[in-house]
Symmetry: C2
Protein backbone atom coordinates (compact mmCIF):
# COMPACT_ATOMS: atom_id res chain seq x y z
CA UNK A 1 0.00 0.00 0.00
CA UNK A 2 1.01 3.63 -0.42
CA UNK A 3 3.39 5.53 1.79
CA UNK A 4 3.05 9.10 0.56
CA UNK A 5 0.42 11.19 -1.17
CA UNK A 6 1.82 10.47 -4.65
CA UNK A 7 1.41 6.75 -4.03
CA UNK A 8 -2.38 6.93 -3.60
CA UNK A 9 -3.54 6.34 -7.17
CA UNK A 10 -7.32 6.42 -7.75
CA UNK A 11 -8.54 2.93 -8.56
CA UNK A 12 -5.92 1.22 -6.41
CA UNK A 13 -7.46 -1.41 -4.16
CA UNK A 14 -6.03 -3.48 -1.32
CA UNK A 15 -7.47 -6.08 1.06
CA UNK A 16 -6.65 -6.61 4.72
CA UNK A 17 -7.81 -9.06 7.31
CA UNK A 18 -8.78 -11.03 9.27
CA UNK A 19 -10.43 -9.63 12.40
CA UNK A 20 -12.17 -12.13 14.68
CA UNK A 21 -15.10 -10.71 16.62
CA UNK A 22 -15.76 -11.91 20.16
CA UNK A 23 -18.68 -11.45 22.56
CA UNK A 24 -16.32 -10.23 25.28
CA UNK A 25 -14.94 -7.47 23.08
CA UNK A 26 -18.43 -6.45 21.88
CA UNK A 27 -19.55 -6.05 25.50
CA UNK A 28 -16.36 -4.29 26.58
CA UNK A 29 -16.53 -1.76 23.74
CA UNK A 30 -20.27 -1.30 24.23
CA UNK A 31 -19.98 -0.60 27.95
CA UNK A 32 -17.32 1.98 27.31
CA UNK A 33 -18.64 3.82 24.26
CA UNK A 34 -22.16 2.77 23.26
CA UNK A 35 -24.00 1.14 26.18
CA UNK A 36 -27.20 0.16 24.39
CA UNK A 37 -28.81 -3.14 25.54
CA UNK A 38 -28.07 -5.09 22.34
CA UNK A 39 -24.35 -4.23 22.66
CA UNK A 40 -23.84 -4.95 26.37
CA UNK A 41 -26.49 -7.35 27.69
CA UNK A 42 -26.74 -10.81 26.08
CA UNK A 43 -30.18 -11.48 27.59
CA UNK A 44 -31.68 -8.15 26.54
CA UNK A 45 -30.04 -8.63 23.13
CA UNK A 46 -31.89 -11.93 22.67
CA UNK A 47 -35.15 -10.02 22.97
CA UNK A 48 -34.00 -7.15 20.73
CA UNK A 49 -34.73 -6.91 16.99
CA UNK A 50 -31.29 -8.45 16.43
CA UNK A 51 -31.95 -11.68 18.36
CA UNK A 52 -28.55 -11.56 20.07
CA UNK A 53 -25.52 -9.41 20.81
CA UNK A 54 -24.26 -7.20 17.99
CA UNK A 55 -21.21 -4.97 17.88
CA UNK A 56 -21.65 -1.22 18.13
CA UNK A 57 -21.29 0.28 14.68
CA UNK A 58 -18.50 2.43 16.11
CA UNK A 59 -16.77 -0.75 17.23
CA UNK A 60 -16.94 -2.12 13.69
CA UNK A 61 -15.33 1.13 12.53
CA UNK A 62 -12.57 0.57 15.08
CA UNK A 63 -11.98 -2.97 13.82
CA UNK A 64 -11.67 -1.69 10.25
CA UNK A 65 -9.41 1.19 11.26
CA UNK A 66 -7.13 -1.11 13.25
CA UNK A 67 -6.76 -3.41 10.24
CA UNK A 68 -6.01 -0.47 7.94
CA UNK A 69 -3.36 1.09 10.18
CA UNK A 70 -1.74 -2.25 11.09
CA UNK A 71 -1.43 -3.14 7.40
CA UNK A 72 -0.06 0.19 6.23
CA UNK A 73 -3.17 1.42 4.42
CA UNK A 74 -2.51 4.62 6.32
CA UNK A 75 1.20 5.01 7.01
CA UNK A 76 2.91 6.64 10.01
CA UNK A 77 5.36 8.39 7.68
CA UNK A 78 2.70 10.30 5.82
CA UNK A 79 -0.63 10.40 7.66
CA UNK A 80 -1.60 13.89 8.79
CA UNK A 81 -4.96 12.85 10.21
CA UNK A 82 -8.49 12.39 9.01
CA UNK A 83 -10.73 15.27 7.97
CA UNK A 84 -13.98 13.35 8.01
CA UNK A 85 -16.30 10.90 6.31
CA UNK A 86 -18.39 11.61 3.24
CA UNK A 87 -20.85 8.88 4.22
CA UNK A 88 -21.03 5.72 6.28
CA UNK A 89 -23.43 2.75 6.28
CA UNK A 90 -23.73 -0.02 8.83
CA UNK A 91 -25.21 -2.53 6.42
CA UNK A 92 -25.56 -5.73 8.45
CA UNK A 93 -25.13 -6.73 12.09
CA UNK A 94 -21.68 -7.85 13.28
CA UNK A 95 -21.97 -10.73 15.72
CA UNK A 96 -19.72 -12.80 18.00
CA UNK A 97 -17.82 -15.34 15.92
CA UNK A 98 -17.82 -13.20 12.78
CA UNK A 99 -14.54 -12.92 10.90
CA UNK A 100 -14.12 -9.60 9.11
CA UNK A 101 -11.91 -8.48 6.27
CA UNK A 102 -11.49 -5.02 4.84
CA UNK A 103 -11.09 -3.68 1.31
CA UNK A 104 -9.70 -0.18 0.79
CA UNK A 105 -10.10 1.58 -2.55
CA UNK A 106 -8.56 4.94 -3.48
CA UNK A 107 -11.42 7.03 -4.92
CA UNK A 108 -9.81 10.46 -5.24
CA UNK A 109 -6.53 12.23 -4.72
CA UNK A 110 -6.11 15.99 -4.75
CA UNK A 111 -3.00 18.06 -4.03
CA UNK A 112 -3.57 20.93 -1.61
CA UNK A 113 -3.77 24.37 -3.28
CA UNK A 114 -2.55 26.19 -0.19
CA UNK A 115 -0.09 23.74 1.41
CA UNK A 116 2.50 22.34 -0.99
CA UNK A 117 3.61 19.56 1.35
CA UNK A 118 0.32 17.62 1.37
CA UNK A 119 -2.85 16.50 -0.36
CA UNK A 120 -6.17 14.92 0.45
CA UNK A 121 -7.26 11.43 -0.52
CA UNK A 122 -10.67 9.81 -0.37
CA UNK A 123 -10.55 6.14 0.60
CA UNK A 124 -13.60 3.91 0.28
CA UNK A 125 -13.53 1.29 3.01
CA UNK A 126 -15.65 -1.87 2.94
CA UNK A 127 -15.76 -4.52 5.65
CA UNK A 128 -17.13 -7.97 4.80
CA UNK A 129 -17.94 -10.90 7.05
CA UNK A 130 -17.14 -14.59 6.51
CA UNK A 131 -20.20 -14.94 4.25
CA UNK A 132 -18.97 -12.08 2.04
CA UNK A 133 -21.83 -9.96 3.28
CA UNK A 134 -20.79 -6.31 3.42
CA UNK A 135 -21.30 -5.07 6.99
CA UNK A 136 -19.73 -1.60 6.76
CA UNK A 137 -18.99 0.96 4.06
CA UNK A 138 -17.53 4.42 4.46
CA UNK A 139 -15.61 7.06 2.56
CA UNK A 140 -12.79 8.56 4.58
CA UNK A 141 -11.12 11.86 3.68
CA UNK A 142 -7.51 11.84 4.85
CA UNK A 143 -4.68 14.33 4.68
CA UNK A 144 -1.45 12.77 3.43
CA UNK A 145 2.06 14.19 3.30
CA UNK A 146 3.84 14.33 -0.07
CA UNK A 147 7.15 12.62 -0.63
CA UNK A 148 10.06 14.55 0.87
CA UNK A 149 11.72 16.61 -1.89
Amino acid sequence: MPYFFEDYIPGMETSFGVYDVTADEIIEFGRRWDPQPFHVDPVAAEHSPFGGLIASGWHTCGMAMKLIVDHGGIAPESSMGGAGLRKLSWEAPVRPGDRLRVVVRVLESRASQSKPDRGSVVLEVDAFNQDDRRVLNFELVGIIRKKPA
Copy 2:
Protein backbone atom coordinates in the same frame (compact mmCIF):
# COMPACT_ATOMS: atom_id res chain seq x y z
CA MET B 1 -35.02 13.84 25.40
CA PRO B 2 -37.31 11.58 23.38
CA TYR B 3 -38.18 8.01 24.20
CA PHE B 4 -40.05 6.84 21.11
CA PHE B 5 -40.16 7.73 17.43
CA GLU B 6 -43.08 10.13 17.89
CA ASP B 7 -41.06 12.10 20.44
CA TYR B 8 -38.32 13.04 17.96
CA ILE B 9 -39.64 16.34 16.63
CA PRO B 10 -37.49 18.05 13.96
CA GLY B 11 -35.94 21.19 15.42
CA MET B 12 -35.71 19.77 18.93
CA GLU B 13 -32.26 20.32 20.43
CA THR B 14 -30.64 19.05 23.63
CA SER B 15 -27.21 19.45 25.20
CA PHE B 16 -25.22 16.89 27.14
CA GLY B 17 -21.89 16.91 28.84
CA VAL B 18 -19.25 17.11 30.15
CA TYR B 19 -16.63 14.61 28.97
CA ASP B 20 -13.08 15.15 30.27
CA VAL B 21 -10.36 13.97 27.89
CA THR B 22 -7.20 12.40 29.30
CA ALA B 23 -3.85 11.47 27.76
CA ASP B 24 -4.12 7.95 29.18
CA GLU B 25 -7.44 7.35 27.49
CA ILE B 26 -6.24 8.82 24.18
CA ILE B 27 -3.29 6.42 24.18
CA GLU B 28 -5.37 3.45 25.31
CA PHE B 29 -7.99 3.99 22.61
CA GLY B 30 -5.34 4.70 20.00
CA ARG B 31 -3.38 1.52 20.72
CA ARG B 32 -6.51 -0.53 20.44
CA TRP B 33 -8.24 0.99 17.42
CA ASP B 34 -6.14 3.60 15.62
CA PRO B 35 -2.43 3.18 16.40
CA GLN B 36 -1.07 6.19 14.52
CA PRO B 37 1.92 7.94 16.15
CA PHE B 38 0.06 11.13 17.10
CA HIS B 39 -2.54 9.05 19.00
CA VAL B 40 -0.24 6.67 20.87
CA ASP B 41 3.27 8.14 21.24
CA PRO B 42 3.64 11.47 23.08
CA VAL B 43 7.17 12.04 21.75
CA ALA B 44 6.29 11.30 18.11
CA ALA B 45 3.15 13.42 18.57
CA GLU B 46 5.30 16.42 19.58
CA HIS B 47 7.00 16.23 16.20
CA SER B 48 3.74 15.67 14.29
CA PRO B 49 1.73 18.43 12.60
CA PHE B 50 -0.40 18.54 15.76
CA GLY B 51 2.44 19.35 18.18
CA GLY B 52 1.23 16.84 20.75
CA LEU B 53 -1.11 13.93 21.39
CA ILE B 54 -4.56 14.14 19.85
CA ALA B 55 -7.49 11.77 20.21
CA SER B 56 -8.37 9.47 17.34
CA GLY B 57 -11.39 10.88 15.54
CA TRP B 58 -13.11 7.55 16.22
CA HIS B 59 -12.41 8.08 19.92
CA THR B 60 -14.10 11.47 19.79
CA CYS B 61 -17.11 9.74 18.20
CA GLY B 62 -17.10 7.28 21.10
CA MET B 63 -17.04 10.12 23.64
CA ALA B 64 -20.01 11.77 21.93
CA MET B 65 -21.93 8.49 21.62
CA LYS B 66 -21.34 7.66 25.30
CA LEU B 67 -22.71 11.05 26.33
CA ILE B 68 -25.76 10.64 24.09
CA VAL B 69 -26.64 7.15 25.33
CA ASP B 70 -25.95 7.95 28.99
CA HIS B 71 -28.23 11.00 28.80
CA GLY B 72 -31.11 9.33 27.00
CA GLY B 73 -30.62 10.97 23.60
CA ILE B 74 -30.98 7.43 22.30
CA ALA B 75 -33.15 5.38 24.62
CA PRO B 76 -32.96 1.66 25.40
CA GLU B 77 -36.75 1.37 25.10
CA SER B 78 -36.85 2.49 21.50
CA SER B 79 -33.46 2.31 19.79
CA MET B 80 -33.33 -0.25 17.01
CA GLY B 81 -29.78 0.57 15.97
CA GLY B 82 -28.00 2.97 13.67
CA ALA B 83 -28.22 2.76 9.88
CA GLY B 84 -25.30 5.05 9.15
CA LEU B 85 -23.98 8.58 8.91
CA ARG B 86 -24.80 11.08 6.18
CA LYS B 87 -21.55 12.92 6.81
CA LEU B 88 -18.95 13.45 9.51
CA SER B 89 -16.27 16.10 10.06
CA TRP B 90 -13.42 16.09 12.56
CA GLU B 91 -13.09 19.85 12.70
CA ALA B 92 -10.40 20.48 15.31
CA PRO B 93 -7.96 18.34 17.31
CA VAL B 94 -9.11 16.93 20.66
CA ARG B 95 -6.31 17.05 23.23
CA PRO B 96 -5.61 15.90 26.78
CA GLY B 97 -7.33 18.23 29.23
CA ASP B 98 -10.12 19.16 26.83
CA ARG B 99 -13.64 19.14 28.23
CA LEU B 100 -16.27 18.26 25.64
CA ARG B 101 -20.00 18.79 25.49
CA VAL B 102 -22.45 17.56 22.90
CA VAL B 103 -25.48 19.11 21.24
CA VAL B 104 -28.01 16.85 19.49
CA ARG B 105 -30.53 18.30 17.06
CA VAL B 106 -33.37 16.38 15.41
CA LEU B 107 -33.12 17.15 11.67
CA GLU B 108 -35.63 14.73 10.19
CA SER B 109 -38.15 12.11 11.21
CA ARG B 110 -39.80 9.69 8.81
CA ALA B 111 -42.18 6.80 9.56
CA SER B 112 -41.27 3.57 7.82
CA GLN B 113 -43.45 2.74 4.80
CA SER B 114 -42.92 -1.00 5.18
CA LYS B 115 -42.65 -1.53 8.94
CA PRO B 116 -45.46 0.09 10.94
CA ASP B 117 -43.68 -0.29 14.28
CA ARG B 118 -40.76 2.06 13.53
CA GLY B 119 -39.35 5.11 11.79
CA SER B 120 -36.01 6.67 10.99
CA VAL B 121 -34.66 9.86 12.48
CA VAL B 122 -31.69 11.97 11.46
CA LEU B 123 -29.83 13.46 14.41
CA GLU B 124 -27.18 16.13 13.93
CA VAL B 125 -24.52 15.76 16.60
CA ASP B 126 -22.00 18.49 17.44
CA ALA B 127 -19.22 18.22 20.01
CA PHE B 128 -17.62 21.40 21.33
CA ASN B 129 -14.57 21.88 23.52
CA GLN B 130 -14.13 24.21 26.51
CA ASP B 131 -13.39 27.13 24.13
CA ASP B 132 -16.68 26.52 22.29
CA ARG B 133 -14.72 25.37 19.28
CA ARG B 134 -16.63 22.69 17.40
CA VAL B 135 -14.45 19.59 17.19
CA LEU B 136 -16.89 17.08 15.68
CA ASN B 137 -20.04 17.19 13.59
CA PHE B 138 -22.01 14.27 12.19
CA GLU B 139 -25.49 13.33 11.02
CA LEU B 140 -26.62 9.97 12.36
CA VAL B 141 -29.50 8.01 10.85
CA GLY B 142 -31.16 5.90 13.54
CA ILE B 143 -34.08 3.48 13.54
CA ILE B 144 -36.49 4.17 16.40
CA ARG B 145 -39.45 2.15 17.62
CA LYS B 146 -42.87 3.82 17.72
CA LYS B 147 -44.84 4.06 20.95
CA PRO B 148 -46.52 0.78 21.86
CA ALA B 149 -50.16 0.87 20.72
